[in-house]
Amino acid sequence: MGIRVLFFASLADATGIRETNVEASGFPDVGSIFNHFAKEHPGLENYRSSALFALNSDFTPPDAPVRDGDEVAFFPPVSGG
């Protein structure tokens, strides 16, 4: 199953990824998944301080634990409405 990982808006542009999957093993928390993609896509570092993290469609702090089947999302401050 793995963990579904989503990027939106400028973070999708920075990674070139909208949606992907990672194996759950080796990722203790949401922040570790961000770190993984920031290493592969250095442009993502620019967004580290402003990015919002979501776990299963709810805002989450980076240290929230993740497990197989979770959906994790990274995105900039929202601008809808």
Binding site: F8, L52, A54, S57, D58, F59, P76, S79, G80
Partner: protein
């Protein structure tokens, strides 16, 4: 009524569906695409969303509005995708017996939507495009 849609929002239809004989006040907020932003001419907009979370957050805000204010019902409709100048990106309709809570709930709702609903606006100018980040 909480919706994310890709077609133009029919404000009148939303209002007609919401209104009941016991309502004395209807307050409607329409967010529309304007032709300028930050001193630049805007040609059109695109709205992107984390749809499942956005809909969930919109439903939560609607429930909060009904809990915090003495209103009977509320509709929040956000459009996604490409929008031309003058088109409506969001419509909030609040129906209640009296006007005070309807105004308060409508304003609370649009302010909160702009803070917490994962939707992003991209502005297209004559000389480029920019993701807008953060609410105003």
């Amino acid at each position: 009524m909480f919706l994310l849609i890709r077609d133009p929002i029919d404000v009148r239809s939303a209002t007609d569906k919401l209104q009941r004989p016991e309502d004395g006040a209807v307050v409607v907020f329409e967010g529309v695409v304007r032709n300028n932003a930050n001193g630049k001419d805007v040609r059109f907009l695109e709205y992107d969303a984390y749809e499942s979370m956005a809909l969930r957050k919109i439903e939560e805000i609607g429930a909060q509005a009904k809990e915090k204010f003495d209103i009977r019902d509320i509709a929040i409709i956000h459009r996604l995708g490409h929008m031309e100048i003058g088109e409506c990106s969001i419509v909030i309709v609040v129906a209640s017996a009296h006007r005070g809570p309807a105004f308060d709930a409508c304003r609370f709702t649009i302010d909160t939507v702009k803070q917490v609903v994962p939707i992003w606006k991209k502005e297209f100018y004559t000389d480029g495009e920019v993701w807008i980040e953060g609410a105003k």
